[in-house]
């Protein structure tokens, strides 16, 4: 089928949602490849040196009308009736083009002056009050990609120049589901809090430590920050509402040199990243309802964000998928070999060393154990006792007051900011 025959026309009212999810793409790359098929509109972008890939899908259900390939007899494919027959044919048609995503976001972000930052579940309903209808239209190769914004008073038409085939790095970022070593399902806003705190302590390298357990509350997910000030441990809560799912697999060499992946509860897994990668993407976590974090044996990591539309409960949500690589060839973990990712003694020691590295806990504010340390407590203590170090350990670990528990609770309450205060109003997926 020649792509010249293809026409795409789709209309939506969910402009604020589209604008906030597209902002996540623009944080990674400048040019995005847009692919349109029967499932929806997909955006893919890479950062400058192709170390991060981001993909976003705006599902077809986000559009009030969605027409792909105008030659079809049924112009609006979401009309019931002959839907199955239609979608069979539609699956085959697919259009792709490239455009400047920065410019695209700038245009779609219609109320720039009212929004301080993109997204946020509690942004004002400006866009929706004005009922701006947004139409995407594309007439095939050589034509611009047009976006039309219309409300009762203003008609805005924006045309974006489209580019032909861009270099595709999709193969490099394809995640083999059969070679997964880690699969977790996390709370978006809570993971955002963790990342923000990691950034606040100027993290250089991030070690993610996971260990499964048959008893859910004994499962462990710890983020270890490595920075100029030493190590910090941020423990992600193991309660089911925060940590919906956690699975670890360990490969085993078979006779025919193939690997067999077995789920494990006895082995701990560590993943090692340069934090700059996370720093680039984590702002998007804030608007997501849940995040699926996966890693394959090759080190390819995927964070899939499910972003619901707060103004439309019936919409299943848009998915933003960031993919990037683990950085294993660092001096701290000097190996290229996956064996070292399991039961790494160095990391195990860091995790178990509760004496020298206090754990920062995360939870909703009312669930927080008063004896647990928040980041504010942590930083405050560090300031007051900067020189205390245990002599035996050479790494510049930070030492916190061991008599911490004996402190008066009233004082504790006054110093705690609770990483959770920002999470109170965010609906949890129970």
């Amino acid at each position: 089928m020649s792509s010249h025959d293809l026409v795409f026309l789709a209309t939506t009212n969910a402009l604020s949602h589209i604008s906030s999810v597209l902002g996540c793409i623009a944080s990674v790359g400048t040019t995005a490849k847009v692919t349109i098929n029967a499932h929806g509109v997909h955006f893919t972008a890479y950062n400058d040196n192709q170390t991060i890939r981001v993909a976003l899908t705006l599902a077809k259900s986000l559009f009030t009308s969605f027409t792909l390939n105008g030659d079809h007899n049924s112009r609006e494919s979401n009309t019931q009736g002959s839907l199955t027959q239609d979608s069979d044919q539609l699956v085959e048609s697919e259009i792709s083009l490239s455009l400047d995503v920065q410019l695209f976001v700038e245009s779609v972000n219609i109320h720039t002056s009212h929004q301080t930052s993109f997204g946020g579940n509690n942004t004002s309903t400006n866009t929706d009050k004005n009922e701006i209808e947004c139409t995407f239209s594309y007439q095939g190769d050589g034509h611009p990609f047009a976006v039309i914004f219309e409300d009762t008073a203003i008609l805005e038409r924006v045309e974006f120049q489209t580019y032909g085939d861009q270099e595709d790095f999709e193969e490099r970022f394809s995640l083999d589901e059969t070679e997964l070593v880690l699969n977790t399902l996390l709370n978006g806003s809570l993971l955002y809090d963790v990342m923000k705190d990691l950034k606040d302590v100027n993290t250089d390298a991030l070690i993610v430590y996971v260990k499964d357990n048959p008893i859910p509350s004994n499962r462990k997910l710890v983020f270890i920050s490595q920075s100029e000030i030493g190590h910090s441990k941020l423990q992600y809560p193991s309660q089911k509402i925060y940590l919906q799912d956690l699975s670890v697999w360990r490969p085993q060499k078979m006779n025919d040199n193939l690997l067999e992946f077995n789920q494990t509860i006895s082995d701990s897994l560590t993943c090692y990243y340069r934090f700059e990668t996370w720093a680039k993407i984590f702002r998007s976590f804030k608007i997501s309802n849940r995040i699926k974090l996966q890693k394959s044996i090759s080190g390819l990591t995927s964070t899939s964000l499910l972003v619901r539309n707060p103004h439309d409960q019936s919409y299943t949500g848009s998915v933003i998928d960031f993919r990037f690589w683990e950085n294993v060839n660092d001096e701290e973990i000097d190996n290229q070999n996956w064996e070292y990712c399991y039961n790494n003694t160095y990391v195990e020691r860091l995790v178990e060393d509760d004496q020298n590295i206090k754990i920062i806990q995360y939870a909703l504010s009312n669930n927080l154990d008063p004896n647990q340390v928040t980041l504010d407590d942590y930083l405050k203590r560090r300031e007051t006792r900067p020189h205390t170090r245990p002599e035996v350990i050479e790494t510049p670990f930070i030492v916190l007051d061991d008599n911490f528990n004996s402190h008066k609770e009233t004082e504790l309450n006054s110093t705690r900011k609770t990483p959770a205060s920002s999470t109170i109003d965010i609906p949890l997926f129970l």
């Binding site: 400047d100 972000n109 203003i154």
Partner: protein
């Protein structure tokens, strides 16, 4: 040569000056028997011509050998500052006078050289308590312009004007929407005889067209009745465009936000003019002239 003004409410004066302040600091104040004209003009750049009725001033006395017209050039920043200070005080009257500039060593030569230099003196008295009061005096240096220079400063004339449309405050969302586009140097303003308004910006890889869906009220132009009848028979809505610098447009958009009534005049490919009435009692008006891109190239 004599100038004696008194003002109790500075609203009109201050808002007029603040509207044109972003354009440039150096302005010409022309006092005529009926109006105070504030002119902000420079070659090949946008110009603003403001007219404040003498009604605004409880006392307005201008005397000169030139039909009682007096013209000075000054930096408006200190003038605005002085007016704002007066506004903040509890004084009920500000007197403005033209005085000779006091020179320390006044010799015969220097007095000759400085003959055109003078000061605009702004004086007001603040009542501190029942018994005491405090006087403030601001001296703003001005240059008195000679008749031939003053006569050379003339308001731009439009050789042709195709569209005259009334803008009201409802149009502001349209102007705010176009603010997202900052990457181009120019904006194209298109109006039609029937009152459609469209703004468009063309960038390297993006084209934007913003149009107002309602028809705006248009004023019919004199001397075009013949043409008009021709259009009506053909039932055609003719577009007329002018391309102007985006930064000049922004000031115009701001003017629309601040003014009570605005008429936009499109002189095709030549100029865009905004004629604004500043306040409800229509004692002040501002006319803002923006030259079109084609004109620059000619």
């Amino acid at each position: 040569m004599k100038l004696k003004l008194c003002v109790s409410n500075t609203d009109v004066l201050l808002s007029t000056l603040s509207v044109i302040q972003p354009l440039r600091k150096l302005c010409v104040l022309r006092f005529t028997p009926a109006h105070l004209c504030i002119i902000s003009a420079s070659l090949n750049e946008p110009q603003a011509w403001c007219k404040i009725s003498q009604e605004v001033f409880p006392l307005y006395e201008v005397e000169s050998i030139r039909d009682n017209v007096l013209c000075v050039e000054t930096n408006i920043d200190p003038l605005i500052n002085a007016l704002r200070n007066f506004d903040k005080s509890n004084s009920d009257g500000l007197s403005i006078r033209l005085q000779r500039r006091p020179v320390a060593n006044e010799g015969p030569e220097s007095s000759k050289r400085n003959r055109s230099m003078a000061v605009l003196s702004l004086i007001y008295t603040e009542h501190v308590s029942m018994a005491s009061s405090r006087s403030y005096s601001f001296k703003i240096p001005v240059k008195v312009l000679k008749a031939e220079i003053d006569q050379g400063i003339v308001e731009p004339q439009l050789t042709h004007a195709e569209v005259l449309m009334k803008l009201d405050r409802d149009i502001l969302p349209l102007f705010r929407r176009i603010e997202r586009y900052k990457r181009s140097g120019y904006i194209c303003v298109t109006g039609t005889n029937r009152g459609r308004l469209e703004l468009s910006i063309e960038e390297d890889s993006r084209k934007v067209q913003l149009s107002w869906k309602e028809f705006l009220q248009v004023q019919q132009l004199e001397g075009e009745t013949q043409q008009q009848s021709q259009f009506s028979t053909q039932d055609q809505d003719m577009p007329h465009s002018v391309q102007i610098k985006l930064k000049d447009w922004r000031l115009g958009a701001k003017l629309t936000e601040l003014c009570y009534k605005v008429v936009m005049i499109i002189s095709e490919n030549h100029a865009l003019v905004l004629h604004c009435i500043l306040n409800e009692d229509e004692t002040a008006e501002v006319t803002y002239y923006i030259g079109g891109k084609c004109q620059d190239q000619e």
